[in-house]
């Protein structure tokens, strides 16, 4: 059902993938997908997790070979047998998890695998590589030092290194997979400028993102994948977000954010003048029962550090924490959990889940004492509890014994939420809970948080996405450079003002 097809209107086609099908065992990942990108445009590729975007791009990059179909590029029909052939043909991939050698310099990364030879045999001419990298960066007005070590760079700068890598390999088609998922708003804005500039210089960008706001802003064309099929492809000009969401999920998502009708009660949690060695200072705020308090700020503003100071991950250097009016002392996550505080961390793979262990174990991990198991674990009871909590928030798992890494991102997040539900936490800190998960799962998580607030719990909601902060919270705290610079009622605030507080240095 390819309606509204855009045929390029006389402009040249940079790339055409025709009739691509790919099957993994029982799963038909792509069926007869046709995808055309016009030269000098930004073509957005959207779809829920598992829709087939990454598979399609891996076929383009030569990582996967399709069961049927071929890639037409530069008037040639071909199938790339390996990534080398795709790069040769001018295709560069920038993956979500950037592929950089952290300990090497920017120049060494840009020339990785195609190093310039030095005068002596077996040597590499670092000087010339640095010069050429710097010249390329300057030509594109990228503010970056070719001699810097990658591990010292921000995520935004690492993106630029990836772009330089692509340009140095004479790529004409650059695929970006979720490039803004870990960028601050400011860095994202800079990336958009770069993308627009590349477009005006005739490069073709294929842009994969979950953030629909940025897509309607940036893209010339949009293709929507669902269950391995292209359900819509065409110009972005007349397309609005609700329509895109409709194509993605196959249904209209009315009321994307749940209605807030919660009675806000007594003060549940308060932080008074807390600070930590990780660079946050003098943070004071309260969270009431039933209240969802947002925390906005740029990446690096110290939001996660506040959460870590409260939860006992980082050592607190100053301040008092109170729960239900009583001072609590927290020196470790164990203390925080014992006091009824939960922390859904921002990086579920690094600090949340034990990926190869069963989902049920992940749910019960902090709760092994205190759910009637005494000092021993009863596998039968554990299974029942996991099943009960899993179904309460509809986690889709084959069985609670399935390893956590067999689940999609959204379901992994739900396993972690089930963990803290089971802990019967009174105060939940959720740090970027919807990062990298699809639209349907996002909505479920908002509804869930809303329901938890309805039960009288307090929630601190850290997020880099202003729309969701405005959609879900009662109040918004704004962080800048390790300090709290704003505490606003959500209904009286505007996104522009929050952004201004977060990003602009006054005085």
């Amino acid at each position: 059902m390819n309606h509204g097809r855009h045929d390029g209107g006389g402009e040249t086609v940079a790339l055409r993938m025709a009739g691509i099908s790919k099957r993994f065992g029982p799963v038909q990942a792509l069926s007869d997908v046709t995808f055309t990108a016009r030269k000098g445009t930004v073509h957005a590729l959207v779809g829920e997790n598992g829709a087939g975007k990454s598979t399609l791009m891996k076929v383009l990059a030569g990582v996967h070979q399709p069961d049927a179909g071929q890639v037409e590029i530069g008037g040639q029909e071909r199938v790339f047998a390996n990534p080398g052939e795709a790069i040769e043909a001018g295709i560069s991939m920038i993956y979500q998890e950037l592929d950089l050698a952290e300990d090497l310099t920017v120049a060494a990364n840009v020339f990785l695998g195609m190093e310039l030879r030095g005068r002596l045999p077996l040597t590499v001419d670092h000087g010339r590589m640095a010069d050429e990298t710097q010249a390329l960066a300057d030509r594109f007005n990228f503010q970056i030092d070719a001699a810097a070590t990658v591990s010292d760079l921000s995520t935004g700068d690492c993106q630029i290194v990836e772009v330089l890598k692509a340009l140095m390999r004479k790529a004409s088609i650059i695929v970006m997979d979720e490039p803004t998922s870990s960028l601050s708003e400011r860095e994202a804005t800079r990336l958009f400028e770069i993308v627009r500039d590349l477009r005006s210089r005739g490069y073709t960008i294929i842009y994969i993102s979950h953030r629909l706001e940025e897509i309607v802003d940036l893209a010339d064309d949009i293709s929507v994948l669902r269950d391995g099929n292209v359900v819509h492809t065409g110009s972005a000009a007349n397309l609005e977000i609700p329509q895109i969401v409709h194509y993605m999920v196959g249904r209209e998502l009315k009321d994307f954010y749940p209605a807030r009708q919660v009675e806000v009660g007594e003060v549940l949690f308060s932080a008074e003048h807390i600070g930590s060695a990780a660079g946050v200072e003098d943070i004071s705020f309260e969270v009431r029962r039933g209240e969802i308090v947002g925390m906005a700020g740029l990446v690096g503003a110290g939001r996660t550090e506040v959460a870590r100071a409260i939860f006992g991950v980082d050592k607190r250097t100053a301040g008092t924490l109170r729960l239900d009016g009583e001072t609590i002392s927290i020196a470790s996550p164990a203390d925080a959990i014992a006091n009824g505080i939960a922390y859904l961390t921002e990086d579920r793979k690094r600090t949340g889940l034990c990926l190869e262990l069963p989902c049920s174990w992940n749910v019960t991990l902090p709760n092994l004492c205190g759910i009637g198991m005494r000092h021993l674990i009863s596998p039968g009871r554990e299974m029942r509890i996991a099943r009960e909590y899993g179904s309460r928030i509809s986690v889709k798992w084959a069985s609670p014994t399935a390893p956590a890494d067999s689940l999609s991102g959204g379901n992994q997040q739900k396993v972690l939420i089930a963990r803290w539900l089971l802990a019967e936490s009174k105060f939940l800190i959720v740090d970027e809970p919807t990062r990298g998960i699809d639209v349907g799962a996002k909505k479920e998580i908002y509804t869930l948080l809303n329901a938890l607030a309805g039960q009288g719990k307090g929630i601190l909601f850290i997020s880099s996405e202003l729309p969701e902060l405005f959609g879900v919270t009662d109040r918004i705290l704004v962080m800048r450079r390790g300090r709290l610079v704003g505490n606003l009622k959500t209904k009286d605030a505007s996104p522009d003002y929050v952004m201004h507080l977060a990003a602009v240095e006054d005085n």
């Binding site: 939860f311 164990a334 690094r350 600090t351 889940l353 674990i377």
Partner: protein, 359 residues
């Protein structure tokens, strides 16, 4: 499917080896005596491998267990030698307890250094491997302690039946005259001269091994220590953020391995009727090999005790079989090396196929 292949592969190999040898050497291999003998020889590395399973699941390694076996054993020998005036049972009891305790102390030292100095387990136990061995040599100037009466753990059996044996042309062959129940007695004076009554049953060392398998299995499956071992090995950060005291649990895991090694040292002393400073040289390699063949992952989070027991039996039967077939110990080393690499690579292959679907 992953879990099944992980267990099935070493188990299948074990069955293959036992089956093959039963056909090739039915009269020597396929006897109760030989099987009990193999189990008896498995008990020392096997008991240590139980502890090593915890260590490897927690994403650690303990290279010092061989040296620890020696140092713990030497303590036992030293104590026994110095308590010569005491009644034997009391001296043996104290020597045994101190042997086990010494193992625990050594393990505690490993655990403490790993968690407090934040050093990789490989480095810490590489260091203690050398240091413990050195101390074992220093203790008695490189000489062993003889423990001529310290026999029970090595030779003793829990009697299930007895046989009455009579010499045939001066030799006690398998010429069994009568089989008796353990409670039956015969008046030796009624018998032909030089007849004797021999007890048969489960060797004490094998019984200890079996009890420890059950205890370790219980710890791993039903206690928080066991569960946290998996969690720490799978993702230390996630374990910490779930309120687990990672340092305490890791220390306990290394101390547990030390205790198990101490128990093994007690049996080793009794089997050789002496405490040898050279005991357990390169033993850590067999132990780690058994755990890895059993499906545990050196990167942590994966492993089972069933797998480890299969792994240790596989190595023991292989050694036993090679000896019976007249294959030299040099060739045995090659065969075991190949098995380790094949077992792990087949396991990896099965796993990578299971996660081929991405997106």
């Amino acid at each position: 499917m992953g879990k099944l292949t992980r267990q099935l592969l070493p188990f299948g190999t074990l069955i293959l080896i036992v089956g093959g040898l039963s056909i090739l050497r039915p009269e020597t291999f396929l006897t109760l005596e030989n099987f009990l003998n193999v189990l008896r020889r498995s008990s020392v590395p096997g008991i240590i491998a139980l502890g090593m399973t915890f260590v490897i699941i927690s994403a650690g390694i303990d290279l010092s267990v061989g040296s620890m076996l020696a140092i713990a054993g030497m303590i036992g020998g030293l104590v026994l030698a110095n308590l010569s005036g005491w009644p034997f049972w009391a001296a043996a009891l104290i020597a045994s307890l101190l042997t086990v305790a010494m193992g625990g102390v050594c393990g505690l030292m490993n655990g403490t250094m790993i968690t407090r100095l934040k050093l990789p387990p490989f480095i810490v136990t590489l260091g203690t491997m050398s240091a413990f061995r050195g101390i074992s040599y220093v203790m008695n100037d490189g000489q062993p302690y003889d423990m001529p009466t310290y026999r029970y753990l090595g030779e003793g059996v829990i009697p299930l039946w007895k046989t009455l044996e009579t010499p045939v042309q001066g030799q006690f062959a398998l010429d069994v005259e009568r089989v008796l129940w353990p409670w039956q007695n015969v008046n030796l004076s009624d018998l032909a001269e030089r007849s004797r009554v021999v007890s048969h049953g489960i060797p004490v060392s094998v019984l200890i091994f079996a009890l420890l398998i059950a205890a370790a299995g219980f710890l791993l499956k039903y206690t928080r220590l066991g569960r946290y071992t998996y969690a720490i090995g799978s993702n230390k950060q996630a374990a910490f953020h779930s309120g687990i005291n990672v340092n305490w649990n890791l220390t306990a895991i290394y101390a547990l391995t030390g205790l198990f090694t101490g128990i093994a040292a007690m049996i080793q002393n009794s089997r050789t009727v002496s405490a040898q400073p050279t005991a357990g040289a390169a033993l850590e390699l067999d132990v780690i090999a058994a755990v890895v063949i059993g499906g545990a992952s050196l990167s942590g989070g994966r492993g089972t005790l069933t797998g480890t027991v299969i792994g240790i039996l596989l190595i023991s039967f292989l050694r036993n079989g090679c000896t019976m077939l007249g294959i030299s110990t040099n060739i045995q080393l090659i065969v075991i090396g190949v098995i380790i690499i094949v077992a792990v690579s087949v396991d990896q292959l099965a796993r990578s196929r299971a996660i081929a679907i991405d997106d």
